[in-house]
């Protein structure tokens, strides 16, 4: 991903800032500027997520693309945040220990490195809570 494309959502990624529709009460992380339920009636504001959540499902990635192969094997999960929104993230833990239902909390980590540009991307990953 280009540095500028990453940078645009950097504050969201660093601090787990998503959005909230005050019309229907839904929370969005990744952030959405348009509520799919309320559409034009939806009023969207920023929301900083508490960060704690639960593993819905997971895998151990053993074969990855260029930007991530230095991390293999790594645990990847879909996590449901306590506010009710789901996201995809790596979970830093013993890969044999991850399981469905596991409670997790956020940490600030290196996400990926782009060999070509030399850019290093940082953001939120999760660890067992």
């Amino acid at each position: 991903m280009s540095v500028s494309r990453f940078w645009r959502k950097q504050q969201n990624r660093y601090n787990l800032i998503g959005t909230h529709c005050t019309t229907c009460g839904r929370y969005f992380y990744p952030p959405r500027s348009f509520c799919p339920d309320c559409r034009r009636e939806g009023k969207i504001v920023d929301h900083k997520f508490k960060g704690v959540g639960t593993v819905v499902t997971y895998t151990i990635v053993r074969s990855a693309g260029d930007q991530f192969k230095f991390l293999t094997p790594y645990a990847l999960a879909i996590i449901e945040l306590d506010e009710g929104s789901k996201l995809t993230s790596q979970v830093i833990c013993d890969i044999d220990k991850i399981q469905i239902g596991m409670r997790v909390k956020p940490v600030f980590r290196k996400l990926a490195e782009d060999g070509k540009s030399g850019a290093i991307f940082y953001g939120t990953k999760f660890v067992p809570a």
Partner: protein, 387 residues
Amino acid sequence: MREVAVIGVGCTKFGERWETSFRDLFVQAGALALEDGNLSGERIDEIFVGNMSAGRFIEQEHIGALIADYAGLATDNIPATRVEAACASGGLAFRQAYTAVASGMSDIVVAAGVEKMTDVGTEVTTDVLAAAADREWEGIAGITFPGLYAMMATQYMHRYGLTREQLAQVAVKNHDNGAKNPNAQFQKPITIETVTKSTLVADPLRLFDCSPVTDGASAVILAPLERAREFTDTPIKVLGCGQASSSLALHDRKDICTMDATVAAGNRAFQTAKVERKDIGFVEVHDCFTIAEICAIEDLGFCKKGEAGKLTEEGYTARDGKLPINPSGGLKACGHPVGATGVKQVYETVKQLRGDAGGRQIDAEIGMTHNVGGTGATVVCHIFGRV
């Protein structure tokens, strides 16, 4: 809307086609389709071509024009349009061709699909395919396609008790079918152990749970049904068509184990075709990974959620079973040149319905195709029948 028929079909051998270029692949497929439909190029009014990522695989865009040019049709200046919906590009190209003929805009239309994937290494391929998911919110987390489908499998096995062996049986069955398909990338039968002892790619999915990286092209020709007999004695009618979208990211689905776009596209195809599940003789489903075939059988409504593993184990989906799934060998054994797959599914369905499918022939009146983009953000289904 006019009724539409498929009057000619062509498909290249699928596999690592090192000696054959992108443009040679689609020229071969197109020539085979024209020969099969017994018509010459100047009869073609329009072309739609499905292609996911020539820009990154071979650093070539503007594929519509390239195809018209090298198919020798640019001299007639016919319209040629590229269609992209990741791995559903081919099915979508077919749908565009179908609507062009049905609406009366064009008469004789080619739907083609092509992908040349092996000119780059596996790590680049993995990254190119990852673009079918949400780059900003899944890609940056380090997803891979096997990884995303693996997460469906983890949750599915946890919830429904699907066994490792039942999942492996999907691949065993599809390799068995592929062994009867001269165009297939893999033509060797395998055992459950071949799957369960193969390398882990993304737990619980192993090498033999995955479709491979493939070069290939397929092309089919559509015409108004009322004119079909000018070209062929065995036109195959398009009975129904359904397309649907869902969230780009897997994490935004209501249920990780249900492709709601498959449910919607399937329902639309059945409604437009005015046929029931029980009327379907076989289905070419999008088995990019073994778990995808399990979910597809259920989401298309052929059984209840959680039952497809047991049905597969019992032989219900085998060539001689009650509902054969993927007689071509599917994406697993026939191969998965992403943009070509959806058109190849139509090719196989037409061959089967005509009674032209050789050693893998199934006796059926009605067949169905199911083509998925990404983890289910785009789904295209078609239903076909003899006339």
